[in-house]
């Protein structure tokens, strides 16, 4: 029941807030924080119970729903889902705790946050395709309201665009899911059964169509160039904690879905499509980095680095699925790297967006040129930002490096030239983050920031927890890699 409870607690928490109009802002905030800790703790318990030598899917919970159609309420975890779900729960706790201007509607804000948490964790815990899809779409609803009501700039426009574009993505996903479902025999939405069955093996053109729909759906969510255009607007106008969740959790659904469905359930077709996908990933890596370099707005710059980083994750997944046999060592590395990238990107970019929010709270602007010389005025902010920026540019000793190193080593064993080209990405990200640090923290302090306060205790503790994990994973990722290996053994090596 541990997984069901994980999903139920935030939902109940959200309902309490939704149905209790009289509750005060302070209570709503404290309540949400307390509730959001529960899934985190439960997932850590799940982590402790997870047997790294055991089966791929563990802690399975199952209830029949419409047996004749093969639908069921099925939850469970493999190593990859566990790692990402635990990271997501942490990001949610951090985002909820982070100070934000709730515009007098704290109750609603926190209710939507908790609702979004259930939906997001549901995506990673679902072992049933239909359930997966429902949660996948519900996240859009939660995020839509968070951006639309608490965003700045042109929030409603941004929210609707985000909604429409990603809904278009989930439309393709739905079509693909149905295609896959209808090819299964017996009909089932059970992911484990579908992975065993490989329903579309040898299905020719139809398998290709289904694969294309899956890839399109997940490429929009991830997002891969050229399907990323919904991302910057949504990020810039979203409130910072929502941005952190969007980048830290929601984007992962694209890459996680890629591993969970097309990679696992359509091995043969995926192998045939791996190379073009890898090429698209490399294009995303370089394009995302270059466009980020061209941004003058802090939040947009961070947003575009997501295109770059998620490109690494997709590259790793494509390399891991590039063939059905051979180069197991390299392909396992690529898959492990892609998973670590998801976790690392969640923590690092989550932290970066929260930091951007702290800048907004203080200065109401994201323009890099407006800031300067803050090293002396706000040393804590400078220190935390520097650490997060170096983590994002892939400095060893921090989580991003562990991820990228695995991905590159793995990809090099399969597509050496693509790995070598993608490597240029780490140079461009280095340039763009260093320039960001230069404009924020170097130079003379402008008159208007002479009274800027440093990070508050809450801000500092949330960021410290996120970045401490980044350091721990960077120095000693064995624990994380061990959990992930349970899945790569099954997914890549086939045992």
């Amino acid at each position: 029941m541990i997984l069901t409870t994980t999903l139920a607690v935030p939902l109940i928490g959200a309902l309490v807030l939704a149905l209790w109009p009289g509750c005060s802002d302070t209570f709503a905030r404290r309540w949400a924080m307390a509730v959001s800790v529960v899934p985190l703790v439960l997932l850590l318990v799940a982590w402790a119970r997870f047997d790294t030598g055991g089966a791929m899917f563990q802690l399975v919970e199952e209830a029949t729903w419409v047996p004749s159609l093969g639908m069921g309420f099925r939850l469970g975890l493999d190593g990859i889902a566990l790692a990402i779900a635990a990271m997501s729960a942490l990001i949610f706790t951090g985002a909820i705790a982070y100070p934000v201007d709730t515009r007098g509607a704290a109750r609603q804000y926190y209710a939507w946050m908790l609702f979004l948490e259930t939906a997001s964790l549901g995506v990673f815990l679902a072992l049933d395709l239909l359930l997966f899809y429902v949660f996948f779409d519900l996240t859009l609803v939660g995020m839509y309201f968070l951006i639309g009501r608490w965003g700045h700039g042109k929030p409603q426009y941004a929210a609707l665009k985000f909604f429409l574009y990603t809904l278009l993505g989930s439309l393709f996903l739905l079509l693909a899911i149905l295609g896959l479902y209808l090819s299964a025999d017996p009909l089932t939405f059970d992911m484990r059964a579908l992975i065993r069955q490989q329903p579309l093996a040898g299905a020719g053109a139809f398998a290709g169509v289904v694969m294309a729909a899956f890839l399109l759906g997940f490429a929009i969510k991830t997002p891969l160039m050229p399907f990323h255009t919904w991302l910057p607007r949504a990020h810039v106008d979203a409130p910072a904690p929502a941005s952190a969740i969007l980048a830290g959790v929601l984007l992962k659904m694209g890459t996680y879905g890629l591993i969970r469905i097309p990679y696992s359930m359509m091995r043969e077709t995926f192998a045939a499509w791996a190379f073009p996908l890898a090429v698209l990933a490399v294009v995303s890596i370089l394009y995302g980095a270059l466009v980020a370099l061209g941004q003058k707005d802090m939040k947009r710059r961070i947003a575009y680095t997501s295109v770059n980083h998620m490109g690494y994750a997709v590259l790793g997944i494509a390399a891991a699925g590039a063939m059905l046999g051979g180069s197991e060592a390299a392909r396992s590395m690529a898959m492990a790297g892609a998973t670590v990238e998801m976790v690392a990107h969640g923590l690092i970019t989550g932290a970066l967006f929260l930091i951007a929010g702290s800048f907004w709270q203080r200065g109401e602007t994201y323009e890099l040129a407006d800031y300067g010389g803050l090293s002396g005025q706000t040393p804590k902010l400078a220190g935390v930002t520097t650490l997060a920026a170096f983590a994002s540019l892939g400095l060893p000793g921090l989580a991003g490096f562990v991820a990228e190193f695995h991905i590159f080593v793995g990809t090099f064993g399969v597509y050496p030239w693509l790995a070598a080209i993608a490597l240029l990405g780490i140079l461009i990200t280095a340039a763009l983050f260093l320039r960001m640090l230069q404009s924020l923290f170097f130079g003379q302090l402008p008159e208007r920031w002479k009274t800027m306060p440093d990070l508050s205790a809450v801000e500092l503790s949330v960021l410290s927890v996120l970045l401490l994990l980044v350091v721990i994973i960077g120095v000693y990722p064995a624990e994380l890699l061990d959990v992930i290996a349970t899945s790569t053994r099954a997914l890549v090596e086939g045992n």
Binding site: Y181, S332, G397, F405, L427
Partner: protein, 618 residues
């Protein structure tokens, strides 16, 4: 247990930093920092005797490994030995944000130890890049000046460009052997070894400031003087040489490796010498000379004498560090590092004497130790032909020339009136004297028998110099010293500015401008253009989505109404409810939204029908 060596300084700096911040007593800070670094030195010595090693598993496939070889033991001893006095000097002499500066320098020493002790490419890469990041923080220490931030980034980016080579090298090794350990490097195919060699050489050349990467060392001058001393003498810049020195047995099997490295090393030694000979800036003079001397070390590695490179690294370190510190003290007093400013500033007698000893070692004048190792480089180069040997001798002459220039500036200040520049405290002065004492104590390497002793200790060969090589070299050194001193003294006395050719050379042959024009600006331009393009694409995407929505809405009204009514189940109901909430929010584009939902429902229906049909036929 060997992990203690890098961990001690890193952890100590993290733990001591808060204390240093609240009790900014200089002597306490200087002493505690030096104790940490010297304790690291003691740990290395102890560990070498006790045969320490270290392993840490990341996964089945990736293992981090530390170990000591005869060569790396010496390097691991030299690093803290040179770093301790420098850090003591920094804590006693530097100004703003001192706790940060000292903590970073102590941590830097630890990470450099990790780099030296690494026995696999992953550990190496980790240390290699962290060294770069810490140097960024140190070079940009005085953040109020935007230029320094730019210089710090330039240094980091230049060296990271080379780091990409190390990444590629690691990929090749893993692909070939399934591990990253140094011990397995011998199993690679010749072609793979060649790629590996190219990667590590690129990384080493960029870190050790060789052509064409050399100019980053000029940018690195933006850091405080003790930072320059630390980077040049004992840590960052040394990384490249220390790496190739260790890998030389593997790399010598690659046919192009020796000649290519020899060429780059000699070219940098000569160019660096010319740069230092023309620069009007004392720190840049020393920076040019650093590139030149590391060039000589690469020549030794290329000729097959890694131990010679190691000895020259050690002796260069103990002589270069005090030169930077003395220059720092004088420049501090003079308000700038230009030679003519320093020439106008009196420097205390003791510092001048210490500087004289160190600068003669830089010139390569026997019987100082650095002169011996330079002769060894020449003898090693002579194995590859007369031209290399002659070029090494010429580089030695240039070294003497710019050493003479440096000395002339400091000598000129001797007679001036006013407050004499000096290191502020006993600890700071002590640091300089200890380093100079080490320079003097190295002289006995000239004694017969030292070569055999060193050879045994390092388990490596040394070259034998011929008498005419020594004679030529000594003649060039004396000539260089005389000319350099005369030339500079005259120029300073006349107060004449630098000539055009001097400015050209002093700017590293315009290389930085070239890189700016051919790489940085084009990339920036592409980035800005892509950003604009992407912005437009964003709007195009919206317009397309909206247009699609309009069309669908129309189509939906015409044909799809009955279908919508007919399928009021599951998803549609859920979405409908969300849709109504959206109406409360705003209503401008809702028809798009509804039409998208409609497409979803239609699609689902089509699939279901298709499914029923195919299901029926199977």
């Amino acid at each position: 247990m060997l992990w203690l060596v890098p961990l001690l300084p890193v952890l100590a700096s993290v733990l001591l930093y808060p204390w240093w911040k609240v009790s900014p007593s200089r002597p306490a800070m200087a002493l505690s920092a030096m104790v940490v670094v010297l304790a690291t030195l003691a740990l290395v010595a102890w560990g070498a005797g006790a045969g320490w090693g270290g392993q840490l598993g990341w996964s089945d496939r990736l293992q981090l490994e530390l170990g000591l070889t005869p060569l790396t033991t010496v390097a691991a001893l030299v690093v803290p030995l040179v770093a301790a006095p420098i850090i003591g000097f920094a804590a006693s002499h530097e100004g703003e944000r001192l706790p940060r500066l000292v903590a970073l320098m102590v941590a830097f020493t630890g990470v450099m130890e990790l780099l030296v002790l690494a026995r696999d490419l992953l550990t190496l890469l980790i240390a290699w890049e962290i060294v770069g990041a810490l140097s960024w923080a140190l070079i940009g220490h005085q953040f109020q000046d935007r230029e320094r931030g730019r210089h710090a980034s330039q240094a980091f980016l230049t060296t990271r460009t080379g780091d990409l080579g190390l990444y590629i090298a690691a990929f090749v090794v893993f692909q070939q052997t399934g591990t990253l350990a140094y011990d397995s490097l011998g199993q690679m195919s010749p072609a793979a070894t060649s790629v590996f060699a190219a990667g590590v050489t690129l990384a080493a050349l960029s870190k050790s400031a060789q052509l064409p990467f050399a100019p980053w060392l000029f940018s690195a001058m933006s850091g405080p003087a003790p930072v320059s001393a630390l980077l040049h003498a004992a840590t960052m810049v040394a990384a490249g040489v220390l790496l190739l020195m260790q890998l030389q047995p593997i790399l010598q099997g690659v046919p192009w490796f020796g000649p290519a490295l020899m060429t780059v090393g000699l070219a940098t030694a000569i160019c660096g010498g010319l740069v230092a000979s023309s620069s009007g800036h004392a720190k840049q003079l020393l920076a040019g000379s650093t590139s030149a001397h590391y060039g000589l070390m690469f020549v030794a590695v290329a000729a097959g004498y890694p131990a010679v490179a190691l000895v020259h690294f050690a002796l260069h370190g103990v002589m270069k560090a005090p030169l930077f510190l003395i220059t720092g003290a004088a420049g501090h007093q003079a308000g700038g590092y230009e030679l003519h400013r320093i020439a106008a500033t009196p420097v205390s007698r003791a510092l001048r004497l210490a500087g004289l000893v160190a600068v003669l070692a830089l010139a390569g004048l026997p019987p100082l130790g650095a002169a011996w190792s330079k002769e060894q480089v020449m003898a090693a180069a002579a194995h590859s032909g007369l031209l290399p040997a002659f070029l090494v001798a010429l580089a030695g002459g240039l070294s003497a020339f710019y050493a003479g220039r440096w000395q002339a500036a400091f000598q000129a200040g001797a007679g001036r009136a006013g407050q004499a520049a000096d290191a502020d405290s006993v600890v700071a002065r002590g640091g300089v004297y200890v380093l100079v004492l080490l320079v003097v104590l190295a002289s006995p390497v000239w004694l017969p028998g030292s070569k055999a002793l060193l050879g045994d200790w390092l388990a490596s060969a040394f070259a034998t110099a011929r008498w005419w090589e020594l004679a030529l070299s000594l003649a060039l050194v004396l000539l260089g010293l005389f000319l350099g001193y005369r030339f500079s003294a005259q120029q300073l006395a006349a107060g004449s500015g630098t000539a055009t050719w001097q400015r050209f050379l002093a700017q590293w042959l315009m290389l930085p401008g070239l890189a700016q024009r051919t790489i940085v600006r084009p990339v920036d331009a592409v980035a800005v253009r892509l950003a604009t393009l992407d912005d437009r694409a964003v709007d195009a995407g919206v317009r397309a989505t909206a247009g699609l929505g309009d069309w669908l809405a129309g189509a939906g009204t015409r044909a799809g109404e009955w279908l919508l009514d007919g399928l009021p189940e599951g998803l549609a109901r859920l979405s409908g409810r969300a849709g109504r909430s959206i109406v409360q929010l705003q209503s401008g584009m809702t028809h798009h939204y509804y039409s998208t939902i409609a497409v979803g429902v239609i699609a689902m229906a089509v699939i279901l029908v298709l499914g029923l049909l195919t299901g029926g036929s199977s």
